[in-house]
């Protein structure tokens, strides 16, 4: 057997192994995904508005972002910047330390969560794709509430728990229409199960909601280079309102005896993915090997047409304003490793899709991050710390102070590079 053929054969095997590893771990991580927020009891769960990975350190501002080694999850058109020969793997996770408080109680929570798994590459000169898996909503709560036993002075603790969430498997495509102008389409398959339980004395009521829906989003980007060292990119995204059903099932059981007292399908729950749109821009500048990047976004989702309410919680239109900068002191590494690190900082202000007692939940956060190159600058470990507060502002409401550590691994591999001599 020809030596070069053997080598390429095993290289292919190794690549398949890597892909298989990603996929299998991705699905198992989905099952482990969790959140810890009492507010995730509402609707289809807590909707993740952040990006994880490269853009988390710059405040999630990525609608107008297009770089060579970046899988843009927010705007599919942003994939157009990927190098022709590169194959990029992204894996992101987070650790969130939260302190929830009301006027009468305070509680801490720590969550380890998987956030994103994606791979992307340029298929043709004009067409770039990425596929990935990420949580769309998370449900995770464990609420105990004292309940009276009528006819006595006794009480017991009723326990309400929820877990699961809706996940998104997406296929992003970017096509270069004209020089610098790319259009993107994202096909997403939403799936997952949300389980809610109520355990009051012996009776345990368990309800599951299962999602199963394909949906599309669109994006555009235009990028232009000025004076060979400054690139300006503007972008926009749009998603149409899309109805989808949640298939519901309910069981009632006696936890003491173990008997199943009721097991039936209940009417489907109607929900939808809201109309969404956003605009953003970025300015990239590389002069004398020092690289600067500034990016800013506005993104809105029209949730308020959903009239579902839960004890004072209602949907509201969400708006996110974000901006961030990134600096790489010297991309050619003349002065050592510290100079090729990407340093990031960002701010983000998000008006949540939830309004509690008429007050919209607002989230303020600042972020700082670094991109640590390895494998001779071919890949990065991105670490960012985000500090923020999420609150409604009305007395008695839940307030969350958090510190979020995001870690992502971007493996960039030259899979399609043909060696002259192998």
């Amino acid at each position: 057997m020809n030596t070069s053929k053997v080598t390429s054969y095993h290289s292919l095997l190794a690549k398949v192994f890597v892909l298989g590893t990603f996929c299998s771990f991705g699905f198992s991580l989905m099952a482990q995904n969790s959140t810890s927020s009492p507010l995730s009891i509402f609707g289809i769960g807590e909707i993740e508005f952040r990006d994880f990975g490269v853009s988390s350190g710059i405040g999630n501002a990525s609608i107008g972002l297009r770089t060579r080694n970046f899988l843009n999850h927010r705007n599919p058109a942003g994939l157009g910047g990927i190098d022709t020969l590169k194959f990029i793997f992204d894996f992101s996770g987070s650790v969130k330390f939260s302190t929830f408080s009301t006027s009468v109680a305070r509680e801490r929570a720590t969550n380890f969560n998987f956030k994103n798994l994606a791979a992307g590459f340029r298929v043709t000169k004009r067409w770039t794709v990425s596929v990935g898996l990420s949580p769309y909503t998370n449900v995770g709560y464990n609420i105990s509430k004292p309940q009276e036993i009528e006819g006595s002075f006794d009480r017991f603790e009723a326990i309400y728990t929820g877990d699961g969430g809706i996940n998104k498997f997406y296929w992003n495509n970017s096509v270069e229409l004209l020089k610098g102008l790319t259009a993107g389409i994202s096909a997403s398959y939403y799936f997952g199960t949300i389980t809610r339980n109520e355990a009051a004395q012996s009776i345990v009521i368990s309800e599951t909601m299962t999602a199963n829906r394909i949906d599309f989003d669109f994006g555009m980007q235009y990028s232009r280079l000025f004076q060979q060292h400054t690139r300006v990119t503007v972008g926009s995204v749009y998603g149409y309102k899309s109805d989808f059903k949640l298939y519901q099932h309910q069981t009632v059981s006696n936890r003491n005896s173990g008997y199943l007292l009721k097991d039936e399908k209940v009417p489907d729950k109607k929900s939808f993915l809201p109309e969404s749109y956003g605009v953003g821009f970025s300015v990239w500048r590389n002069k004398n090997n020092a690289e600067w990047l500034f990016s800013a976004d506005y993104y809105q989702q029209n949730w308020s047409v959903n009239k579902e309410r839960l004890r004072g919680i209602a949907y509201a239109d969400s708006r996110m304003y974000s901006a961030g900068i990134q600096l790489t002191p010297n991309t050619k590494r003349p002065g050592g490793y510290m100079e090729i690190i990407r340093y990031q900082a960002g701010v983000c202000y998000n008006e949540s899709y939830m309004a509690i007692n008429g007050h919209q939940l607002k989230d303020y956060s600042v972020s700082a991050g670094v991109g640590l190159p390895f494998f001779r600058g071919m890949s990065y470990v991105n670490v960012s710390a985000i500090f923020g507060q999420s609150a409604t502002g009305f007395r008695g409401g839940i307030k969350e102070n958090y510190a979020l550590l995001s870690i992502s691994l971007s493996l960039i591999e030259s899979w399609f590079k043909k060696a002259k001599y192998d």
Partner: protein
């Protein structure tokens, strides 16, 4: 070469290994940590209610008789119980000759005594000393075809040798008493055995001394229980022998034979206390609204019926019995002189009016198979005679759940409440408790004397 491991740090396999390690770390550390805040966001779909006014219907029944042989206890005495009636007990015991090694030619009879030891169980007023007559039996005790004797059984007495003693008792605590018997009886026994030693086999011995009956004489106000074992119940024949010119005291011991011992028990119930049989129970509306438990004598017990429990099912789509408790409260001052049983048992009532033998086994077997629940005497006053605070409570959750789910009369079960079977025929105990119509001075005090069924249940999807 195939698969040369990690030729270079940029080797794709090395990257894959790093990735795998990172992913494994995340997978291992991902876990749930949930918050308990936000209880204003949740609202229960169930309702939990505690109700203590469920109906319990009582009826009083009497057992024809109970087995009294082989119980290791001798009941003797009389007590006129103002709540129940007059009870009388007398016991019969056979003795085994155990020591007869003397071959002295000049023995001299001295005296004869009966040694008894109380068990601590009593029924009545212990302030009056017991007064008993001790009779020699006319013939050996014979067991019935079923090898048992009952509370109705008797034995004939040799009426020419009554021996009567009133003896001191130091309260109800366990104690040994030694009763001097008539010398004429002792000498007859002593010389009868010594003179006919060669012919004195077991049969001849029993003909000479078939045993004794201990019966109450006049003036008793209490029934005592005496232990019948070979060490606690004895007849001791004291005599002397001459050894080298000196007189030496000797004892010939006759030990009780627990297998050949039984009691005759009888209770003459008060005229206003009609009791029924298993097939024809008498409601407590005819017994002054009181339920009775009496071991020994007429052996009273009380049947409990729970009408209407099935109606709980109609409150909602799903009704679950969380907890059910039956509380039995002794009537105030009903146990001033009679100690309360330390525990009671609930049995599944067997409605079939069996043959006599089967009915006697009712509590032992027939009614204990499905439901045997024990309720201990509780309350702060149980040791201090504070009448208001004594009660027995039984956890009857499973039973009530089965009755709530009973869809037909066939599935309905009644319970019986009684002294535990193991103690029913070896102790004399009595309990009087009120039914749900029992009145005691005021409504509030009446409730403290009434039986109560307390059920906590949860309803899902309650019917409006």
């Amino acid at each position: 070469m195939y698969f040369i491991p990690f030729r270079h740090k940029t080797d794709i396999r090395w990257k894959a290994a790093c990735t795998g390690v990172c992913l494994t770390f995340w997978w291992l550390t991902s876990c749930d940590h949930n918050s308990s805040l936000g209880n204003y966001l949740v609202e229960s779909h169930t309702r939990t209610v505690k109700v203590d006014t469920f109906s319990v219907k009582l009826s009083v029944l009497a057992k024809d008789s109970i087995v009294t042989s082989g119980k290791g206890v001798l009941f003797v005495g009389e007590y006129d119980d103002p709540a129940v009636g007059k009870s009388q007990a007398q016991g019969y015991v056979e003795f085994i000759r155990t020591s007869d090694n003397e071959n002295n030619e000049y023995p001299r009879f001295d005296s004869v005594t009966l040694v008894l030891r109380t068990t601590g169980n009593y029924y009545g007023d212990t302030l009056v000393y017991p007064n008993v007559e001790i009779w020699r039996l006319d013939k050996p005790i014979e067991m019935g075809d079923d090898n048992m004797r009952y509370s109705t059984s008797t034995a004939s007495l040799r009426d020419n040798l009554p021996i009567q003693r009133r003896f001191k008792m130091k309260g109800p605590a366990q104690q040994e008493v030694e009763i001097r018997l008539a010398n004429a009886f002792g000498e007859e026994l002593f010389w009868g055995i010594l003179k006919n030693r060669e012919e004195m086999n077991a049969d001849n011995y029993l003909k000479t001394f078939p045993g004794i009956a201990v019966v109450p004489a006049a003036g008793n106000s209490c029934i005592y229980a005496y232990s019948v074992t070979d060490s606690t119940c004895q007849i001791r024949l004291h005599y002397r022998i001459s050894e080298s010119g000196d007189l030496t005291n000797k004892v010939m011991t006759f030990k009780a034979n627990p297998a050949k011992q039984f009691n005759h028990l009888k209770t003459t119930l008060l005229p206003d206390l009609p009791v029924g049989s298993k097939s024809d129970p008498v409601s407590t509306s005819n017994t002054r609204n009181m339920g009775f438990i009496l071991s020994g004598g007429s052996a009273l017990y009380t049947r409990l019926d729970f009408p209407g429990l099935e109606h709980l099912q109609m409150l909602g789509e799903i009704v679950v019995v969380e907890n059910a408790k039956l509380i039995v409260r002794p009537i105030h001052h009903s146990y001033d002189t009679v100690p309360l049983p330390s525990e009671l048992n609930l049995y599944q009532h067997n409605p079939v009016n069996d043959e006599r033998g089967a009915e006697l086994q009712h509590l032992a077997a027939g009614s204990t198979q499905l439901t045997t629940m024990t309720g201990n005497l509780n309350g702060e006053g149980k040791n201090q005679n504070m009448h208001e605070l004594c009660y027995y409570d039984f956890t009857v959750t499973d039973f009530v759940a089965s009755q709530v789910a009973a869809t037909s009369e066939y599935g309905k079960i009644a319970l019986s409440i009684d002294i535990p079977t193991s103690k029913g025929s070896s102790t004399f105990q009595r309990l009087v408790f009120g039914d749900q119509d029992f009145f005691y001075k005021t409504e509030a005090q009446s409730r403290e004397n009434q039986i109560m069924l307390e059920i906590t249940y949860s309803i899902y999807n309650e019917y409006k």
